[in-house]
């Protein structure tokens, strides 16, 4: 995976462009269908957003003046970056025992897909996505509240 350009913005278009560039890098992928493509693209978008959030948090912890383009600052405040990383961690724990629900969250939250788009990407009925999304949100919310209340937890707090 090539290193990222510094200071890129993460408006939707830029994110899609970035995901596209990474997809093109994966020239050996043998695409099965549109759903397969959407699934891989969503995973890459999650990766890009998480990488970016880590950089924003590092810049914040490093102190000093951050030089971020104005539009980037809007979409990506340090607080938003921290919560995105917490969601990412909790989601990895969910994936350990329910991979499909974790995928639904990846598609809906990290890739911004609608219920119908996520259903297509997973090859399931939209009602399945609605149920998975509902239970996954409940589990993640509870998990994140528990982590936040647990001083010895692995979630890094900076407030």
């Amino acid at each position: 995976m090539r290193s990222e350009r510094p200071g890129h913005t993460l408006q939707t278009t830029a994110l899609v462009n970035e995901a596209y560039l990474r997809l093109v890098d994966q020239s050996r992928v043998n695409w099965q269908n549109r759903a397969h493509f959407l699934g891989v693209a969503a995973g890459l978008m999650r990766q890009i957003l998480v990488d970016h959030a880590r950089r924003v948090c590092r810049a914040k912890r490093g102190g000093g003046v951050q030089h971020l383009p104005l539009d980037e600052g809007l979409v990506y405040s340090p607080a938003m970056s921290e919560s995105l990383l917490v969601v990412d961690e909790a989601l990895s724990r969910l994936a350990e025992f329910d991979a499909r629900k974790a995928r639904v969250v990846e598609l809906r939250y990290f890739a911004g897909m609608s219920v119908e788009e996520a259903a297509e990407a997973l090859g399931v009925h939209p009602n399945t996505v609605i149920h998975d999304w509902s239970l996954a949100k409940a589990w993640l919310k509870r998990e994140m509240e528990r982590s936040a209340g647990d001083e010895t937890g692995t979630v890094e707090k900076d407030r």
């Binding site: 600052g73 329910d98 919310k141």
Partner: protein, 84 residues
């Protein structure tokens, strides 16, 4: 999370959500039998779900007008306006 327990939670959560809110407790009494672990899990997840309506609904992938860029009172560094 044990897979057998999670499978039961998954089914019971869906069944309970299909009930009117005021009938869920009675439904869980009947449906969970004496399984206190299952009942506790489903109840706490239903509670978490109840406060999670807006949770994760704003994808970071979508830059939207309802994610205000600058909040009132935000301080901006001194800036220079260049002619267009």
């Amino acid at each position: 999370m044990k897979p057998e327990l999670w499978k039961k939670i998954d089914e019971m959560f869906a069944a309970a959500q299909a009930q009117p809110a005021e009938e869920r407790a009675a439904f869980l009494d009947r449906a969970c039998g004496g399984d206190q672990e299952l009942r506790g899990e489903v109840e706490s997840l239903l509670r978490a779900r109840g406060s999670a309506d807006s949770f994760l609904e704003h994808s970071p992938a979508v830059a939207s007008a309802d994610q205000p860029a600058l909040k009132a009172g935000a301080k901006l560094a001194p800036s220079r306006l260049w002619s267009a």
